[in-house]
Subunit: 190 residues, 2 copies
Amino acid sequence: MKNKLPIALSNRHVHLSESDLEKLFGGGHSLCELKSLSQPGQFACEEKVDLVGPRGTIPGVRVLGPTRDITQVEISFADARKLGVDAPVKESGDIEGSPGLKLVGPNGEVDMEQGAIVAARHIHFSDKDAEEFGVSDGEKVKIKTSGDRSLVFENVTVRVSPKYSLEMHVDLEEGNAAGVSNGDLVEIIR
Amino acid sequence: MKNKLPIALSNRHVHLSESDLEKLFGGGHSLCELKSLSQPGQFACEEKVDLVGPRGTIPGVRVLGPTRDITQVEISFADARKLGVDAPVKESGDIEGSPGLKLVGPNGEVDMEQGAIVAARHIHFSDKDAEEFGVSDGEKVKIKTSGDRSLVFENVTVRVSPKYSLEMHVDLEEGNAAGVSNGDLVEIIR
């Protein structure tokens, strides 16, 4: 059974709904693709917004496309402290009970009611990969990294979809804590 | 045998030699204690310096006292990237081969030849604590944290001295990756 897969570090980023995109960048605006991401159909955009919280601002945060049903901001714990919000660790898409932020774009602002989260670490598996690794959607696994700062991440969420490409996602703090770089191989512990 | 101990998160900080202290803050300057730290005799100072690297500056970094034989700067991987230096993971005091930084104080500057490190995670044990935990100086142990972001830190250095007070030290990125706060209890895995 396979047990090694690549890891990638996600920096803070923003997913926008169509209506919030238009508020921030103007009516009829479409996202401009800067480069494609590893997950099929996902891309980093030219567009950036400022995140404004009760205690501070983080300027120039990258928007990822395509647009989604709901606006969501993924930040680190360090970012949350700087902004002054108590962002919970949540699966992407599960923003219930999370705090909002003000987003500032070149054409306007959006006051989010909720949607600022620290994304739970997770692994994307295609259906075929999931079979080869012997895992199923929603399962939690342990992942071991190697090197000076090696550690074992517990509570890693398995996400399976035919649209996914095999990759573990952690935030920058998690990646730096483990001393790993994009593309390094990590191992499922059984 | 005991297996639980408190963890503490270290933010970036600077240890100064007497001569560098005088270059930065003026001849005859003594460090002003702001508050004592958990390790006996160690304290945070009123004094701050700017760290300047080839790619960026981090202003207002706290000096810790007392002065030491050698100036040493402890930063995170994120800080190292911002500054533009390739700081290695090292035990405190072992700065051989590490890059330097420019330190800027109110009265002058210091161009370090070396001394910028990412401190290796470690645990301080008094002799008595070491006996109660069954560990010895220089040994590497595994430490498990609890909660949403629970993980197991491998390669944690045991440091034993009669001067030490029982505590694990990680940097902010490691602490945030584990979702822990100062004083949370962690566990040695045997």
